[in-house]
Symmetry: C2
Amino acid sequence: MISGDMAIKILKKKNIRLTPQRLELINILSQGNKHWTAEELYHILNERMPSVSITTIYNNINLFCELDIVKEIQFGEGLSKYEWKKKDHYHIVCKLCGDMVDVWYPTLKEVEAVAESISKYKIRSHNLQFYGVCSQCEKQ
Amino acid sequence: MISGDMAIKILKKKNIRLTPQRLELINILSQGNKHWTAEELYHILNERMPSVSITTIYNNINLFCELDIVKEIQFGEGLSKYEWKKKDHYHIVCKLCGDMVDVWYPTLKEVEAVAESISKYKIRSHNLQFYGVCSQCEKQ
DNA sequence: GTCTCTGCAAACCGTTTGCAACGCA
DNA sequence: TGCGTTGCAAACGGTTTGCAGAGAC
């Protein structure tokens, strides 16, 4: 888990400009241990910086994903959330409200190995989500 | 794994009309042990039935999914494929061409149990895909 | 001063919706 | 004959693209 300052050093080293939008996004992402949609990040940033556009959010989270400081979580139906990069883990998603929590289960490396051995594929990664109903939604 | 004839009986029992489009779709899906996009099904059906529309494909695969005779496979970036319903299994997806093969690994029920025990979620299902490169694409 | 980045508008793409005409039962 | 289904066109929603002007360094 890297700090916001570390992320800024990575940008500087690559001669990527430190625009206010970029710095504020890093600030939001690196502080809260959460999962955001692009839209949510847009609204948070918009409060502090009313002129920001959704395009800038996408430009920058895509950049951060390439730099490996942010991770995209695709959880079905074309929906994505983004989280600050940390140790590998899985996610539980609430089918009703979309809320998401981390599951720190050991990475399924041996299942990957099995899948590779029984197929003609070179396996590079896997994607696992759990779907259910959170306690909030269950009450209602 | 049910037969096409079985599927037709299910439709009849529910008073769902046996239109030529519907019967031909069942025919395609139940015979080939494959994974199709809606677009692919549209093109196959279109050769035999030139007036068919993509709307009808979606209408019917969605109906078949509700009837539990077809399964939707969501594999990231909003892309879906569909397969004739069979015993639970996972999929390996080629990152380059989108080709997909089955993995008959035991269902991860104990991982679901772990995820449920460490969270406040009632877990109902999970979704696991492997991503890699198929042997065809590897050659190139 | 240069060249990357921003923000607007428009495009994209797979899928869904509204609806009038069609055709299965 | 009646009502479920089809197929067209338009809408949808999250994301990307093109581009002129802004601004980081």
